[in-house]
Amino acid sequence: MANTLRLYLTCIRNTLEAAMCLQNFPCQEVERHNKPEVELKTSPELLLNPVLICRNEAEKCLIETSINSLRISLKVKQADELENILTKKFLRFLSMRAEAFQVLRRKPVQGYDISFLITNYHCEEMQKQKLIDFIVQFMEDIDKEISELKMSVNTRGRLVATEFLKQFV
């Protein structure tokens, strides 16, 4: 299981290294405007082919690149209903605080759980390798955090159930 995760993350890392070649490019349609082309998608010549990396049916990563911006959308695995609500809560919590992360998108792309938008300005302010490390580390941390949350909720439930049944004994 860990092997497939390693391969999946390595594939994403290599793709990001290749895709994160961004440069400043002013908007072709409106003068004095500078917009991330991957969001607008008005000029096909500025867009590269999107890459979809699937670990399995439940987990996938979509990387869309343009000349001045890059969008990464992640779908996190959700084994049961409890993981489903925990993932939704946690990722929504992070998305609402997107300004703290700078590269996080407030609303995920449809069909995915969370999205990042990296522009050429981010690449100028931060190191490219560090950004890629952050994205990959984020994916690992999310999985770990959801698993820990689920375990904590079940453990709490067990303790509370024990306390309730003690009253009858």
Partner: protein, 384 residues
């Protein structure tokens, strides 16, 4: 139900304050320094539509009147007005010396009690008596359920089975009690407003089933959860059986209702809904706290990556400056080095010779005592 504790905390505090004031006055009366007895008139409102009225007059400070209004357990359509003799008997048994039921009760209340603080024993027992008096509301509710379980015959000859007894404490939270030959089954239809509450509660019910079925908890009543109504509730109205949280049932045997265990069992059953809702709320708070902590650690990773960049760049710049200087020094020719060293030496000599330093003389010397250069390499003369 105010809380999981039987005694109302606010009522206990007020009664303790009145009792301490009364006992202080009694002690000081022989020294003629007693304080003036105070008039008390408190209205307390607690969660679950429970209302208390505490009244004490200055003319009879040892007597306090306590009136209680609480929603009573109803059997579906049949509403119960007032308290049954069994319930009043249970209330009297709290403390026969201290407590007396006043009839008729104060208007707007179901029960009025007269408390005689002079009859409360001194010392630690006083706290125990006051705590028992403060738990009068829980006694009223528990005695109602006990009476229903003992006296109601729900045997339905036509169907050959016991009919479920529907008990309504809170309008939206009815539960069922089904008497069977060797046990009593309590069924709780669970409803929640939020979908995430349903999931958290469902995982709790599954843990409850797992824990209850283990050997260590064999003495506890077996617990079952099912998403569909159990067979015992067949024939009940559809609106009562439509839930989103499933049905939780407890099999109460004779062992759980013997002696003092009856009181605990009844109180646990009455508080089951509140218990589950409290657990769901605390779990949501726990998830929120954990997410907030994780957010801080995730943001720190990104900030550190930016900060490390700055440190590296600054170091690089410093290093670059020093290396540049080094390069500059290395690239200068030997003749230039020689000229520079000579110049430095001459300056040193001049400094030694001209020990007397006149402030401003250097400027004067530069302006007036320098020889003009007629042949300038630049092709012009610099004017001052």
């Amino acid at each position: 139900m105010a809380s999981f504790e039987r005694a109302s905390p606010a009522l206990k505090e007020i009664l303790l304050r009145i009792y301490r004031n009364h006992s202080h006055n009694q002690c000081c009366s022989c020294h003629y320094s007693a304080e003036k007895p105070i008039e008390v008139d408190h209205h307390l409102y607690e969660f679950g539509s429970v209302e208390y009225h505490i009244k004490s007059s200055a003319s009879a400070p040892q007597l306090t009147y306590l009136s209680i209004s609480t929603p009573l357990l109803t059997q579906g359509v049949l509403l119960s007005y007032g308290l049954s003799p069994y319930t009043t008997q249970m209330v009297r048994e709290i403390s026969t010396d201290v407590l007396e039921i006043v009839e008729p009760a104060t208007e707007g209340y179901q029960l009025t009690l007269r408390l005689d603080f002079s009859k409360i024993p001194r010392g630690k027992d006083s706290l125990k008596v006051i705590t028992e008096v403060s738990s009068v509301q829980s006694i009223i509710l528990s005695s109602q359920l006990k009476e229903m379980l003992q006296s109601v015959n729900s045997w339905d000859a036509s169907q050959g089975m016991y009919k479920p007894i529907k008990l309504v404490y809170h309008p939206r939270e009815p539960f069922y009690v089904i008497r069977q030959p060797h046990k009593i089954v309590a069924v709780f239809p669970m409803r929640f407003k939020d979908y995430s509450d349903v999931i958290i509660a469902t995982s709790f019910f599954q843990e409850l089933m797992d824990v209850g079925s283990s050997e260590k908890w064999a003495k506890a009543p077996p617990c079952n959860w099912s998403p569909i109504p159990p067979a015992e509730l067949r024939g009940e109205p559809l609106e009562d059986l439509s839930t989103n949280g499933g049905f939780v049932s407890f099999d109460i045997s004779s062992r759980h209702v013997e002696g003092k265990r009856l009181d605990k069992t009844v109180w646990s059953l009455l508080n089951f809904y509140a218990y589950v809702k409290h657990h769901v709320k605390c779990t949501r708070g726990f998830i929120q706290r954990r997410m907030r902590r994780r957010l801080e650690s995730l943001v720190e990773v990104l900030q550190n990556s930016s900060l490390e960049d700055d440190r590296h760049i600054r170091k690089f710049q410093e290093n670059a400056g020093w290396q540049y200087m080094k390069k500059l020094v290395k690239l200068s020719s030997k003749s230039k080095i020689l000229k520079r060293s000579c110049r430095d030496f001459t300056r040193k000599i001049m400094r030694i010779r001209f020990r007397i330093k006149i402030h401003g003389f250097g400027r004067f010397r530069r302006r007036w005592l320098t020889m003009l250069k007629f042949s300038s390499s630049k092709g012009y003369t610099k004017l001052e």
